[in-house]
């Protein structure tokens, strides 16, 4: 560093002070501005999915990851069950997200049923970060975000930081019309290389203990609001969920008396490769078929006697 010296300490202090003032002011302005725009966003993942789910005021809420989002046609289920169904699944999200989503939904409207499609996407607690824009709106959401870690609390003091990674999505999706349903079908079908049966078995996921704790808390939260909870398992192509994840759900289901709704082995075997987008996800055709089958099962579990519309 041989450049000539142009600063003295007072000038450096002045520059840093000005920078700090500008940064804090901008942080407040940007954060408040984006927070004001937030309720007008109904498109895009994260914020769009959350706002749509909260405003749907549905009787049946479907929660889960991409398996739920791509597998449950909520419009068709609404007709089949004769109740307003909303699919609030989101790619790459797990139980933490489901719990936060339910907390925001129940602030406005209490659903009658909560369907959680088996998800194991919670490798890290940071999965709850999708709720950062909603920090301060619900004690459950705040607890999920902060996790008792002072560092997270410090970061979330910044109002702009709460909008981290969703800023462009908010601006791009402003004033797009609200979507009545959350189902997003996957297109395409299984690649020939993925159709082989000699694929290795899915290894255990080793879910962190917080996943089980969150799952129990989710069921209890739902029950506090008078909602019944059901666990489901959407089909995969020769690629079932890890055994330890299934065991976890079975354990919680037994402990809390939650029904697990699954298709029979014959029904599962009847799903061919043309009904999958990839080994983990149904495509549009597969989802349509699965919705009819699971709809009938849910009707029975929910004890709905009326004829489907």
């Amino acid at each position: 560093m041989t450049a000539k010296q142009t600063l003295d300490w007072p000038r450096l202090a002045k520059r840093l002070a000005i920078f700090a003032v500008v940064a804090v002011s901008l942080d407040l302005a940007i954060g408040l501005g984006l927070a004001a725009l937030l309720p007008h966003v109904y498109a895009g993942q994260q914020v769009g999915v959350i706002n749509n789910a909260v405003d749907a005021e549905a009787d049946v809420v479907i929660l889960g990851s991409s398996h739920a989002m791509r597998g449950f046609d909520d419009e068709a289920l609404t007709r089949l069950l004769g109740m307003r169904v909303h699919n609030a699944g989101l790619d790459g999200r797990g139980v933490l997200f489901a719990r936060g989503m339910l907390a925001l939904i129940t602030q406005k409207h209490a659903p009658k049923f909560v369907v959680l499609d088996m998800t194991f996407a919670d490798q890290q607690r940071s999965n709850a970060y999708a709720f950062a824009p909603f920090y301060g709106r619900s004690p459950t959401v705040d607890a999920l975000l902060v996790e008792g870690d002072w560092r997270e609390r410090v970061k979330l003091v910044s109002r702009s930081f709460r909008m981290n990674s969703v800023t462009l999505a908010i601006l791009a999706n402003l004033f797009v019309e609200r979507r009545p349903f959350g189902f997003e079908p996957a297109t395409g079908s299984l690649a020939p290389t993925s159709r082989r049966d000699d694929q290795p078995e899915r290894p255990p996921a080793h879910p962190d203990p917080f996943v089980e704790e969150s799952l129990i808390a989710l069921v209890e939260d739902a029950r506090v609001h008078g909602a019944r909870v059901v666990f489901t398992e959407s089909p995969t192509f020769g690629d079932p969920r890890p055994a330890d994840v299934r065991a976890l759900y079975a354990r919680v289901a037994e402990k809390l008396g939650v029904p697990i709704v699954q298709l029979s082995d014959e029904e599962l075997a009847s799903f061919g490769p043309d009904q999958f987008k990839d080994r983990g996800h149904l495509n549009r055709e597969g989802a349509a078929r699965f919705t009819v089958l699971i709809g009938a099962r849910l009707r029975a579990v929910f004890s709905i006697d009326e004829t489907p519309k």
């Binding site: 450049a3 901008l26 993942q45 560092r151 410090v154 702009s160 990674s165 800023t167």
Partner: protein, 465 residues
């Protein structure tokens, strides 16, 4: 402990708060303690390794200085190199060589029952052993005197801003600074802060954002077509650049806050016109290490063309192996060796070009570098070949998640700034602008980090080496 974590901000803040009230020796002890705390956060058990490695080379350096004959000096060098390569071999290469030997024997029809080792790789081992070895070579050559202070030497080997991923400093530059009184200047602090911010932007806003896409594609390469694989390869080229150079910028920036000067490890390498120029601008510390301690001692440019080509290839294969114990790194190094040999044989790009000709050269060089990155990033050399075949034959659909837009916007900002500032570096260029322009730039970069940066703090890629 990552540079972009609050834990590290606390550590650095505490060090800075005490640093200015201490004398030189006290400052060195403080930095040494901070360095050990920093390293201990990963795995405190390896602190002993860092300590012992430094003590061995400190003793070897004293031994070289005390030896009266060349033979005696050489014996100390051999002891030091054997020790350093020994710990490197054990922690980094033993498992690889055993696995390769077993595979070879099985191909020859011999079944070998060798237990596979699962040895935890100490963070930054390749960096601190190479830095320590450079001291031994320089003492042997008489370029630097052997230090008498164990504290100074321990600090030279473990200085926290560059302990985990370099730059690999030389004793004549860094150790000498620890031996002298440091003067912290307002300009140094200011430009240090600018570099810290710039490095943070590169890491959090560009590298980590692009990394999400690259991981999604490379970790499921059999589910993606050639277009996605090609796009992910280009993005990985920028991810690894921003990840590593971002780390180095932050390291240099922190050193400036402490009144220390560290080398520039990157010089906007993707604006290179040839593979040879690329290696003058990419990971400069490692390139110059291999040049000074391997290439030149093996004869360098002296000798026949065949000899020069062979030495070039040896250096690049070794450089590949330095990065990791896997054949894919060897192939990566070998490819770069081939590029340089081909450039030499064809006699192309010997002098700088301008305009469209320069743009074409920069484009072609980037393609060659990106091709080699496929091997660097893939899970294995076999996977890399499969991916290249997919790129060449099955374009498929382009996988484009919406979240990628954040990373692409930040990448465009980075490339725009680098194109505007080159050949000077960001902080040098910015320090010469009006204060108001500096404020605007610094604020823009800060808010790009806050609003668009990836907050799931990913490890720095080069920490694994």
């Amino acid at each position: 402990m990552l540079f972009n974590s609050l834990d590290f901000v606390l550590l650095l803040g505490s060090v800075l708060a005490l640093y200015f009230f201490l004398e030189r020796r006290g400052q060195n002890l403080l930095l040494l303690a901070a360095s050990y705390v920093f390293y201990g956060f990963w795995n405190w058990r390896f602190l002993a390794l860092v300590f012992v490695a430094a003590v061995v080379d400190y003793v070897a350096g004293r031994g070289i200085a005390a030896a009266t004959t060349t033979r005696g000096k050489r014996a100390w060098v051999i002891c030091s190199v054997a020790f350093n390569l020994g710990i490197l071999s054990y922690f980094k290469y033993l498992g690889f060589f055993l696995e390769s030997a077993v595979a070879l024997l099985e191909r020859l029809g011999v079944s070998a029952n060798v237990p596979m080792l699962e040895i935890v790789l100490p963070v930054g081992i390749s960096f601190f052993t190479f830095q320590s070895m450079s001291y031994i070579f320089d003492v042997y050559r008489g370029r630097v005197p052997a230090t008498k202070s164990l504290t100074d030497y321990l600090l030279y080997v473990s200085f926290f801003p560059q302990l985990a991923a370099g730059p690999i400093e030389r004793a004549e530059r860094l150790l000498v600074q620890f031996q002298n009184v440091r003067i912290v200047t307002p300009d140094g602090v200011y430009r240090g802060l600018l570099l810290l911010l710039w490095g943070l932007f590169k890491k959090v806003a560009v590298a980590d954002n692009l990394g999400v896409y690259v991981d999604a594609v490379y970790n499921n390469h059999d589910q993606h077509g050639g277009l996605s694989l090609l796009f992910a390869t280009y993005l990985f080229s920028f991810q690894i650049y921003c990840d590593f150079s971002g780390y180095c910028d932050m390291a240099v920036g922190m050193a400036r806050l402490l009144g220390l000067d560290m080398m520039k490890n990157f010089d906007m390498p993707y604006f290179s016109e040839s593979p040879q120029e690329f290696w003058r601008r990419w990971h400069i510390a490692l390139s110059t290490w291999f040049r000074d301690y391997v290439y030149i001692p093996l004869g360098g440019r002296r000798g026949t063309l065949l000899h020069v080509c062979a030495v070039t290839m040896v250096v690049f294969l070794a450089s590949g192996l330095w990065h990791g114990a896997d054949w894919r790194f060897v192939v990566w190094g070998g490819l770069h060796g081939l590029y340089l040999i081909a450039q030499r044989l064809l006699g192309v790009a010997r002098s700088p070009a301008r305009g469209a000709r320069r743009a074409m050269r920069v484009f072609l060089t980037f393609q060659l570098v990106a091709l080699a990155w496929v091997f660097f990033r893939a899970g294995s050399a076999g996977e890399a070949f499969e991916m290249l075949a997919t790129i060449a034959t099955q374009p498929g659909e382009l996988f484009f998640p919406r979240e990628l837009v954040n990373g692409l916007v930040c990448l465009a900002l980075l490339l725009g700034i680098e194109a505007a500032t080159q050949p000077r570096y960001f902080d040098e260029w910015l320090a010469e602008r009006k204060p108001s322009a500096q404020l605007v730039f610094a604020t823009a970069v800060l808010f790009a980090v806050v609003l668009l940066g990836q907050q799931r703090g990913a490890q720095f890629i080069y920490f694994q080496f």
